[in-house]
Symmetry: C2
Subunit: 115 residues, 2 copies
């Protein structure tokens, strides 16, 4: 394999190779996207767009089980997608920041689906 339109693409390829983020950075970005790439987790995020919620209400909103939701919340939390605060017996979950909201909205715009 070899490509001979050096003039046109070689420079882009060279720049791309030189500016490729480190393996660690790529994996960090990938992990963030992976966190929001599962239907069960996306539903949680769509739910949280309507406001801070405890686990019980998240379970109700997405229609799943407590255990499954709790496992997914851990992944979202570890990925920095949601944040938590305790209020008595309850742990209240919310979207971590405006970037998360923005990415969700971009995806829906891209796919031409209402939110």
């Amino acid at each position: 394999m070899q490509c001979d339109h050096e003039s046109e693409h070689a420079s882009a390829a060279k720049r791309a190779a030189e500016n490729m983020p480190s393996e660690e950075e790529v994996e960090k970005v990938a992990a963030s996207f992976k966190a929001i790439s599962e239907p069960s987790r996306l539903k949680i995020l769509f739910a949280l767009r309507h406001g801070e919620m405890c686990v019980y209400h998240i379970v109700a909103a997405v229609g799943s089980t407590q255990s499954a939701v709790s496992h997914q919340l851990r992944i979202l939390r570890a990925g920095g997608i949601v944040k938590t605060r305790r209020e008595g017996q309850n742990i209240l979950y919310s979207l971590a920041d405006e970037h998360v909201v923005a990415v969700l909205e971009l995806a829906c715009t891209h796919l031409k689906c209402k939110l």
Copy 2:
């Protein structure tokens, strides 16, 4: 399990359940994110930010094999993340639209990593 701060969260939960996108829509969004959630595919996208490229140069830029890259490109193409055009023997790949660029940049901003 039952949650008694009805006054505070029940309304958010109710709105969330009512406005939850359909299973099909959620899966479409999830599939899009899944397409960009693998390090090997993300590297391809980071490379393509520097311009349209043929497979040979993508392979060179990301440091993988022709077969692996080709499999990943198929997934990115099916997910509407990249688009292609043929030029002689070569298939030139590029990012599908500005939304893709924007999402990549948002993620890097979110993670405070340079791009």
